[in-house]
């Protein structure tokens, strides 16, 4: 069955049961403490139960008390009697020591608080109508767990992979799934128990009447064979009349026993239904099984978290739905979205708004709704990839429809893929779509598909801005994270160096923070040129005297780089420091740092951190001159007795290695050893370089049991590329 079926049933079940499930889970957390407390307070003497038989106990009881009505062995292991005693103190119901039959403890009255919570949990104080509501709720939970696990199986591509590492892209979704996998079985067991208990209270379980067999009197004293641990209750004969028997309930049968010969008179096995109900009660309440009760408490907490995270996931999906202002027939720009959980749709929505606000006619739809677009000129396809390189659910029909439907105009098309590099099939579906469209004359492909890792908005903006520039489409795509609330800090330019290698102009700026800002190499500096709201992010290095080091390539048309290029010593600029933990230098083990072009910036500063760590640099640039900028920084560091190793690749001059990827190929044994020894790799620079490097790294580890995807997932390979 399709995952949308499971997803919608999961959501609808959750909505139907939400309020009651919340009450049940919240009270369930409290009630799970009860068996634990009972266990702790119970005067149980479990060891004695496994050694003493009824024939040890009965004569002692008869000696100790005037009259014995019943003996009960509780699930916790305490022995309770109901007797008439010789004095007030030993009269009524109380606990005894099984070995001596003497009174050991009073029966504590039931806690009003737990009684109250139990009534709320079981019936919402509404008696049977409440029981029905809660019974249905627990049954819905059973269905919800089923649809939930079906979703997990669907998205992990089958049962075999159910416990594969999950990729973390959205916190709510990640923990919803992780906790869902672990708590599935206990939830099923608990919900099943609850459902059976409910059916039982409603009399909906078929009760077959077990046949009792009449035993021939064989004068065997059955009490000698029965350990106290097997006993549930023993009712003593009501009178000395021979037709009054001992009534003994064991876990699996009921016996009638002759009161003078102690031999079994009749034997009635418990029906399957009865045993099922007993078991269900233990499974649902944890009574007598305090470890299970703790698990029940944990899954109740889990259920509350599921409600929170589930709401968040559903909200994300719903809020990323959009309303078109123009119809499919009128729009010039068509955005098609293939999204599995709505996150890709968010990008489409922002893009849509940014285009609409500049007066473009735009139409957004999901890929499955592909149709003829009479006035369209541009087509943007934004798609994620599902499972093992498959189309997301809402894009499955897309390629078939492309073949069936003919477009009036040739569409200038751009495919943008969203995915996670920690999947082996990174953006595979976007690549497939691109190829299919490239082979179709109705589409004019703008560029190779642009693949975005971990929903990086910066990359997305880069791609869209480039596309808009090429097609002269005006667009105003805002930066994802403008922090209007965050105060800007002042920075003074204390050093500026420019290098022109004949191909482009690169420059470095050292900025002295005038406010007290904490930062480390790898963090980002957000700067907006004057009179502009939208910031650009720059990776920061740190000089040995604690200043910020920026390395910037000057673009002739780039407003911000031009603005920064104009700054001279002593000038002041304003910006916001953004902590970027995912690109901080790892504290432990050795590190390989790979960069090209201005990507070296965050590494300057890292090289003087954690002095016991071996650092190897693979740096790429166009010319040897290009490295001049960083030379003194590298020098400074090596003069401090640090043995940082440096390797260079020069692309535009005679050199053994042209690109950093060549350096990696050359040193592949060292790189593999490094990874095996739990070393980290940090990559900063262009996306193209990143892809080349990752390709080489894959080659490096191809004969080992390491996987690049796992290393990325574990943060052993860190990337900050643009």
């Amino acid at each position: 069955m399709a995952s949308s079926f499971w997803r919608y049933s999961h959501l609808i079940l959750a909505l139907l049961s939400s309020v009651f499930l919340f009450i049940a889970a919240a009270t369930g957390i409290i009630l799970s403490a009860e068996p634990v407390i009972q266990q702790a307070q119970s005067p149980a003497e479990k060891a004695a139960l496994d050694t003493l038989t009824l024939s040890d106990l009965i004569p002692k009881l008869k000696n100790e008390y005037i009259e014995v009505f019943s003996v009960e062995v509780e699930k916790e292991g305490a022995v309770k009697v109901d007797v008439i005693g010789f004095d007030e103190e030993t009269d009524g119901a109380f606990y005894i020591h099984p070995a001596t039959a003497k009174k050991s403890a009073e029966i504590e009255p039931k806690s009003d608080f737990f009684e109250w919570v139990t009534a709320l949990h079981r019936s919402l104080f509404m008696h049977n109508s409440g029981r029905i509501i809660m019974g249905i709720t627990v049954f819905l939970l059973l269905l919800m767990a089923t649809s939930g696990i079906a979703l997990v199986i669907k998205s992990t591509n089958g049962l075999k992979h159910i416990f594969t590492r999950l990729k973390k892209h959205n916190e709510a979704q990640y923990f919803h799934t992780v906790l869902g996998r672990w708590s599935f079985i206990p939830i099923m067991v608990m919900a099943f128990g609850g459902t059976i208990m409910f059916l039982d209270t409603q009399g909906l379980l078929e009760k077959e009447v077990p046949s009792s067999s009449v035993k021939e009197s064989n004068n065997k004293n059955i009490f000698e064979d029965i350990l106290l641990s097997e006993v549930v209750t023993l009712n003593f004969p009501f009178s000395s009349d021979e037709t009054d028997f001992f009534e003994l309930e064991l876990h699996d049968k009921n016996l009638k026993i002759h009161q003078y010969t102690n031999s079994v008179v009749s034997d009635t096995p418990k029906s399957n239904t009865e045993q099922l109900v007993n078991l269900s009660e233990t499974l649902h309440t944890g009574r007598g099984q305090f470890i299970w009760a703790i698990i029940l408490g944990l899954i109740s907490i889990n259920l509350i978290y599921f409600m929170y995270s589930g709401t968040k996931i559903a909200w994300n999906r719903i809020s990323s739905k959009t309303r078109n202002k123009f119809g499919a027939e009128d729009a010039e720009i068509i955005i098609l979205v293939g999204s599995e959980n709505g996150s890709t749709k968010k990008f489409a929505l922002q893009l849509f708004k940014a285009l609409i606000s500049k007066g473009n006619t735009v139409f957004v739809d999901e890929m499955n709704a592909y149709q003829a677009y009479p006035k369209a000129k541009h087509l943007l396809v934004l798609t994620s990839t599902y499972g093992d390189g498959e189309a997301p659910f809402k894009a499955r029909k897309f390629l078939d429809k492309v073949n069936e439907i003919s477009q009036p105009n040739t569409l200038s098309t751009y495919v943008i893929g969203f995915g996670s590099m920690s999947y082996p099939q990174f953006c595979q579906y976007a690549i497939d779509v691109h190829e299919a469209l490239a082979n179709n004359r109705q589409f004019d492909l703008f560029a190779p598909p642009f693949l975005i890792d971990k929903q990086s908005f910066t990359s997305f903006k880069l791609a869209i801005d480039e596309w808009a520039k090429q097609h002269k489409i005006s667009i105003d795509l805002p930066n994802e994270e403008d922090h209007p609330s965050q105060e800007k800090s002042n920075f003074e330019i204390v050093r500026k160096e420019i290098v022109d290698d004949g191909y482009s102009t690169t420059f470095t700026l050292s900025l002295k923070p005038l406010n007290h800002n904490k930062f480390q190499a790898g963090d980002l500096l957000a700067i907006a040129p004057p009179e502009e709201e939208h910031v650009r992010y720059y990776s920061m290095g740190k000089t040995h005297d604690g200043n910020i080091l920026l390395s910037i390539k000057k673009h002739d048309l780039g407003k911000c780089s031009t603005y920064l290029f104009k700054q001279e010593l002593g000038d002041k600029i304003r910006g916001i420091i953004k902590i970027n933990k995912s690109f901080h230098l790892p504290k432990n083990n050795d590190v390989i740092l790979i960069a090209n072009g201005t990507g070296i910036a965050p590494f300057l500063g890292m090289n003087s951190m954690y002095t016991n760590q071996k650092k190897t640099f693979y740096l790429g640039g166009r010319t040897k001159d290009g490295f001049k900028l960083y030379h003194h920084l590298i020098q400074e560091n090596s003069s401090k007795e640090q043995f940082n190793t440096l390797h260079f690749a020069i692309s535009k001059e005679e050199s053994e290695c042209k690109y950093v990827q060549d350096l990696i190929r050359k040193h592949k044994h060292e790189v593999l050893e490094h990874l095996k020894n739990k070393g980290s790799i940090m990559i900063c620079g262009s996306l193209k370089m990143r892809d080349g490097v990752l390709e080489e790294l894959k080659q490096c580890v191809s004969n080992s049991n390491l996987k690049i995807e796992n290393l990325i997932e574990k943060g052993k390979i860190k990337m900050d590329c643009y």
Binding site: E67, F69, I84, P109, E115, T201, F238, S239
Partner: protein, 167 residues
């Protein structure tokens, strides 16, 4: 010496015999009581055993089988008495668990001699969650004759049988 001991034995016998006879004759004293329920469909039954005077009014509550106060309003006649009667000691000491369908329970209580043969009755009042309430499931006349029967069948309610014997 021998005579003395025989005399002693005789005295003891006489005393015990007279006390036994007294007990049987008067009908008062400690009783144990077995309540056997029928097999019905539903939750455990709440059973209240009360002493009723010749006017049909509650004198006192002897036993409450069912320990969750949430359900006491389901026994309206007795519950009115319970709420009115602030002088009666707390019910804690005479309260036990409810009795499940088809199960039995044995309790003990004292019937003072003053209530015997005076038109007083023992009332067994029962209720099951969301089922019919029986104000007089079983009623036992506290007459010497009736008490000597020791066995009383229930008819319309949840109780199959009551047995009552002196301890």
């Amino acid at each position: 010496m021998k005579r003395l001991s025989i005399l002693g034995l005789f005295v003891v016998l006489t005393i015990s015999l007279t006390s036994f006879v007294n007990k049987v004759n008067s009908g008062g004293g400690d009783y144990k009581c077995l309540i056997q329920l029928k097999n019905y469909q539903g939750e455990g039954a709440y059973v209240v055993i009360s002493l009723i005077d010749n006017e049909g009014e509650y004198v006192k509550t002897l036993r409450v089988l069912g320990d969750d106060r949430e359900w006491y309003p389901d026994l309206p006649a007795w519950n009115t008495f319970r709420e009115k009667n602030r002088f009666q000691p707390r019910l804690d000491g005479i309260t036990g668990a409810s009795i499940g369908s088809g199960e039995r329970s044995v309790v003990s209580f004292t019937l003072e001699e003053q209530y015997i043969d005076k038109g007083y009755t023992l009332r067994f009042e029962t209720s099951v969650e969301d089922k019919k309430y029986h104000k007089e499931d079983v009623v036992i006349d506290l007459s010497k004759d009736n008490l000597s029967k020791g066995k009383y069948e229930g008819e319309k309610g949840y109780i199959r049988m009551i047995r009552l014997i002196p301890v």
